[in-house]
């Protein structure tokens, strides 16, 4: 079963409640997504750790059920209200 954009967003939000999340269905096939995740929880962490936090939020579905998730992570710009 492929994941829907809403499934992906709620899984990430459960782990990173403050996150701003934008999911794009790249191919319109429910199988190739891009996600942009902005969270203060990423502060001070290298990119690899930031991505791992998102992958962990997806609970092992990344690379299996969820084939392709192009991921961009960042921290909120100073003064931004998350």
């Amino acid at each position: 079963m492929a994941m829907t954009a809403a499934d992906i967003e709620s899984a990430i939000r459960a782990a990173l409640p403050d996150a701003q999340i934008v999911i794009t269905d790249l191919a319109g096939d429910g199988d190739h997504y891009a996600a942009r995740v902005i969270s203060a929880a990423f502060t001070g962490l290298p990119r690899v750790r930031q991505h791992q936090m998102v992958y962990n939020a997806l609970g092992g579905r990344m690379g299996g059920e969820l084939h392709a998730l192009q991921l961009t992570t960042s921290i909120p710009a100073s003064g931004d209200k998350a």
């Binding site: 990119r47 690899v48 992958y55 092992g60 690379g63 299996g64």
Partner: protein
């Protein structure tokens, strides 16, 4: 490391300055993300060892636990895990990857 597959991966990563675990080969990548990774390394004119996980199911499974990273491609420079294709693309675009190769003294091809 007692697991022979993890030991084999450690040897590959330890014996080569730049290693790309990918699906397919640089000439015939079998996945868009692996293809992106190859193109970035070619643009940076860096010599690298590639490992086709599709022809090696043990490494395909083992590489996911080696760096706690669920997907392929995976790039290693001087023994360190750098990231997957998204991170490679970000670091390439910002010039960080180029700078990192210089900093670590990785040889380039002309």
């Amino acid at each position: 490391m007692t697991d022979p597959v993890q030991a084999r991966i450690a040897t590959l990563v330890g014996n080569n300055d730049v290693v790309l675990f990918m699906k397919g080969t640089p000439l015939f990548p079998q996945c868009g993300f692996s293809s992106t990774a190859v193109q970035i390394l070619e643009r940076l004119a860096v010599g690298y060892e590639s490992v086709d996980v599709l022809s090696d199911p043990e490494v395909r499974a083992g590489i996911k636990t080696y760096s706690d990273w669920p997907t392929v491609p995976q790039l290693y420079i001087k023994g360190e895990f750098v990231g997957g294709s998204d991170i490679m693309m970000e670091m390439y675009s910002s010039g960080e990857l180029d700078a990192m190769l210089d900093e670590l003294g990785v040889a380039r091809e002309d």
